[in-house]
Amino acid sequence: MNIKELRNSFVSGEIDLRSYYTKLIEKIETKKDLNIFISFNKEDIFRQIEKLEEKQNSNCGILFGIPVTLKDNISYDKLKMTCGSKMLENFEPIFNATVVDKLIEEDAVIIGKVNMDEFAMGSSSETSYFGPTKNPIDNKLIPGGSSSGSAASVAADLAMISLGSDSGGSVRQPASYCNIYGYMPSYGTISRAGVVSMANTLDQIGILSNCVEDIVTTTNVIGGNDSKDMNSTLKESINFQIEDNYNFKNKKIGIINLDKFEIEEAVKKDYELAVDKIKSLGAEIVELDFKYLKYSTAVYSVVMSSEVSSNMSRFDGIRYGCLTDEYETTDDLYINTRSEGFGEETKRRIAMGTLFLAAENNQELYKQGQKVRKLMSDEFDAHFEKVDIILTPTTTNLPYEIGSRTEDPLSVYDSGTFNVPVNLCGLCCISIPVRKGISGSIQFIGKRYEDEEILNAAYYYERSNN
């Protein structure tokens, strides 16, 4: 069932809201060992249900009764917002993120806040203060990250859609590992107001779901201009249309030669499978040569950690959140609070960013990073002169076993080779599973603000692939 069908069943009374949610809550209880939820509150769910019951016969919203989970860096004033960190373990936000207001406006049911890598830093969920989320397909495996709980909640059928955040693949990579769809719109399409910044020029709200159509429905609800976010699109509202007669004939799809990259064999095979499929559907395949793609993780590391170092500085223990018990001077207060409150990966990135921004070397790497970022963006622009869509694997590998790579924190950065350029250049992207089960995924990358193209392509591919 998709959003439209479930909504209509609720509206018509065919499915009873209350019993649906009673069952859903039971199901959530039985899957507790997956460690998906950080905050989950039955009373809050039934409070929302009550409200919906009152209006059942009048104006039902587009998402009437649809169960949604939120990554725990998205502010919802009825539940804690921990960001997966001890720093905000007991933090209760006092306002809603704009996306949350928009979901509620259209009668979605927010069922809980889900697990994530600490402050969205990580790609396995292992940096969460609340322990790793498990992959619903195989609970020995990581579900990906940082939007681990979002992907897992959808894959485990505990939510129909989940909102995550994506700064370098944090929606698409877990979607791929959990074998679902993950969409990251063009920068600015969805407001970031109320979303805790990790690397603010890269962060985007993304949507995880079991099908493309639900992603489109949700984007149309939560997208559009927001006066609280100066980077949000000027378009008052988003109204993406699925075209039933979209096809790949007369479409040019750019692919890349994977030989230049370190990439797992299984992932490569699934990519080739997808390319063949798309070719057979009539698309013209164009092999593109990328000069700067191989620097993507390096550039990403510099840009991301530099932004992290400033975005994390507000967590100083003074106004909210974790505060150390032991301090004598103000400096002690900062140092001890931040030492106790932040996890290892967060500290690592703050330290890196601080170094990149230090005046000592004239901010050489920071400036260089910004330059290469521009070059990458120009390269994508040039390629989009020739092709409609660029197709890459979502990740370079398949999910690995929880705990198997914690010794080598830097090795996990490279899985984002194909993810991060999209964020660096403000493009749009959707990750699509190639096969059922643990498999490789592909991503359709589109030009900035041409999200409709990749969504239609994904929808067409989805139907042809099933």
Partner: protein, 475 residues
């Protein structure tokens, strides 16, 4: 030794917008602590800054008033440091692309008008305030966090305390004129730091720059500069370049005190503020602001000279203060004698303003009453002396002077027959003075007029007394 003093000023000015720089919170001085705050100015996770267009407009107004170039597109930057009154761990400011650049402010020196260059004017947000109480606790008030500021940075082109003082006065009055700040130093809406060093022009040996921070009055700025100039000259004489250091002015000891020595500047780890996109400032927008700017002191001065035919000196003083210049024009319209109005305003009225230690805009005496008083004088309904006495009262209590002089019987006596009677009486009683006068002692005439005034209880027309006595005492 041939030396030169180099003084540069850095001035922070709080803009008097209704709301803060990046959120809708009230921008208001004196509210109860932490009542004008929200998630944005408190730096709550997820809160994003939204630029206050009015603040931008105000900053451009300042730039235009000080002859700056206005940038057509600008970005904001983050300046990072940890301090309890800084809510986000960084201050949103402008580092390498200030909104306004390359302006100047004119000051009068004995060698004529001197242009002091302005390097830049940029926009930024203010921080909160730490209050250290007697128990040794630090209390934090975030009402000021996020209040819009402009920072004005001058070239080190002032050579003495007088120039710095005039620069500051000019700056303050201009900002008041254009109405973008209440420029109250005691409330922190205008804050000044001084950079100073001296250079031996023969040998090019110079002392290291001292920064004197947090000066809270023009007087303190003046004193601190003089103190530092002397200190630096002594260093220069001893060929001691000193330290690059930050000092503060200590009122109690009348001297500056070292706060910290910095061999190298702090590292603020500047980076781009990505939450605020690059902003385009259209020429039309700048033009519109320019057209709406009020007349500035320098323009006013020129107009006053031309329109009212008063001296440059008078026009200069009148045009420096927004309220004074307005008052002058309103009163002049009623009295139709600009020189008379100017004379009275600049001498008697300003003296009273200074004595009362108030700002001109705070005077109680309404312009219409002052105009009436001057008309009484101009029409010789009262004499000058009476006028001064009435002014003293009028300044305190603001009443209708026409009624007052009638009530108190202060109307000048111009009737020749009445005056002549008094003169005759006085002459009859002062034969000695008459003799003195005839023997060439001119002072005796003044005495006789004075006696006439006394006899008329101050109401007689002194000129007429003078003329009559002269006529009667032909030598």
């Amino acid at each position: 030794m041939n030396y030169k003093t180099l003084i540069g000023l850095e001035i922070h000015v709080e803009l008097s917008t209704n709301s803060k720089m990046f959120c809708g919170c009230k921008n208001e001085f004196g509210s109860a602590p932490n009542t004008n705050v929200c998630p944005i100015c408190l730096g709550h996770p997820g809160a994003l800054p939204v630029m206050n267009k009015k603040a931008l407009e105000y900053a451009i107004m300042a730039g235009l008033s000080f002859n700056c170039n206005i940038r057509n597109s600008f970005k904001m930057d983050r300046k990072k440091y940890f301090y309890p009154d800084l809510t986000k761990g960084y201050q949103i400011t402008q580092q390498d692309m200030p909104l306004c650049e390359n302006g100047y402010i004119e000051v009068h020196t004995k060698d004529g008008i001197k242009k002091i260059g302005l390097i830049r004017i940029h926009i930024e947000e203010d921080t909160g305030k730490s209050i250290h109480n007697e128990e040794g606790n630090t209390l934090l008030d975030y009402n000021r966090a996020g209040v819009p500021l402009i920072e004005i940075v001058s070239e080190p082109e002032m050579s003495n305390a007088d120039e710095a003082k005039e620069f500051l006065e000019n700056l303050k009055e201009t900002l008041k004129f254009i109405g973008i700040s209440d420029v109250k130093m005691e409330q922190g809406s205008l804050r000044c730091d001084v950079n100073i060093n001296v250079i031996d022009e023969d040998s090019n040996f110079k002392t290291r720059i001292t920064e004197v921070k947090n000066l809270n009055s023009f007087k303190a700025v003046y004193k601190a500069i003089n103190y530092e100039e002397k200190r630096h000259l002594e260093m220069l004489e001893n060929k001691d370049e000193g330290f690059k250091e930050t000092r503060r002015w200590d009122d109690a000891s009348n001297s500056t005190v070292v706060m910290r020595r910095k061999e190298e500047g702090s590292d603020y780890r500047f980076s781009v503020e990505g939450d605020i996109p690059v902003t385009i400032v259209e020429d039309e927008f700048i033009e519109e602001i320019k057209n709406n700017l009020p007349e500035l002191p320098s323009q006013l001065m020129k107009r006053f000279i031309k329109e009212y035919n008063i001296s440059e000196y008078d026009a200069d003083i009148l045009s420096r203060n927004k309220y004074l210049s307005k008052y002058f024009e309103i009163v002049t319209k009623e009295v139709k004698d600009p020189q008379l109005v100017s004379n009275w305003l600049l001498s008697d009225v300003l003296r009273r303003v200074n004595e009362a230690e108030i700002e001109f805009e705070e005077i109680k005496m309404e312009s219409k009453n002052f105009a009436k008083l001057l008309n009484l004088i101009k029409n010789k309904d009262i004499n000058n002396n009476t006028g001064k006495k009435v002014l003293r009262k009028l300044f305190e209590d603001n009443f209708d002077p026409e009624e007052y002089v009638k009530e108190k019987g202060l109307i000048q006596v111009n009737d020749d027959s009445v005056l002549e009677k008094i003169v005759d009486e006085v002459l009859a009683n002062n034969q000695e003075s008459i003799n003195d006068y005839k023997n060439g002692k001119d002072r005796a005439l003044g005495f006789l007029v004075g006696q006439c005034m006394k006899a008329s209880k101050g109401k007689g027309n002194p000129q007429k007394f003078n003329e009559m006595i002269l006529k009667k005492l032909v030598r």
